[in-house]
């Protein structure tokens, strides 16, 4: 199987992760056997990524076989990725999801998110944090993007 991440990116990302990851982070990936053009590539991409740091973990689930877990994690698309902080066996869900293959712009977002979740810190301004913590109703933000 041909490697997806170019060698140069592998070197860069390995360095960034080594210097910036603090606590363990797990990528929970949901796939579908049929009608999912990018599922196989996404799995391979995340496998290549997880190999670059011993603080990263990957678990792979079938969205139909593990429908209950998908429901609990609020995942309805494939490939779907949930980033969670790992504290021993415990998972800390920060509400971060990706739908579709994280390439291009989404790949750099994923790397940034891994660093934030690893630090357990959103890096937002204190005033923004305070306002967000005052929200009492469910909020779903869907950010549409393209790879370039």
């Amino acid at each position: 199987m041909k490697q997806i991440l170019p060698d140069q990116i592998v070197t860069q990302v390995r360095q960034v992760l080594a210097s910036q990851l603090l606590q363990p982070v797990e990528m929970v990936l949901f796939l579908r056997q049929e009608n999912c053009e990018t599922c196989a590539d996404t799995q391979q991409l995340l496998e290549e990524l997880v190999a670059l740091s011993d603080k990263l973990y990957l678990s792979v689930h079938d969205i139909e076989a593990d429908a209950e877990l998908a429901r609990q994690m609020n995942v309805d698309k494939t490939p779907g990725i949930v980033l969670v902080g790992r504290d021993g066996e415990k998972q800390i869900d920060y509400g971060i999801r990706f739908a579709g293959v994280p390439s291009g712009y989404a790949f750099s977002t994923l790397i940034n998110d891994l660093i934030l979740v690893s630090g357990r810190d959103s890096k937002l301004q204190p005033m923004t944090r305070a306002s967000l913590q005052n929200i009492k109703k469910p909020v779903l933000l869907q950010v549409f993007s393209t790879p370039t």
Partner: protein
Amino acid sequence: MVLAHQMAMENPLIQAEMVEAMEFPELAGKYNVSGVPQTTINSGAGTVVGAYPEPDLLVAIQRALKAAG
């Protein structure tokens, strides 16, 4: 950096999903995505197009929640 993901970290009631628009054309069509990034709040209760500073997205979220009652 995706601000929505940072915001999700601050409150368990907030979930932020980055959607690859080309892979989910029906959803992108439903929310009339033309420029990216586009952020849709609570399934169309609010929309923000382009990059924006923290206070602007926050105001858009608060407005969408208020409009929903």
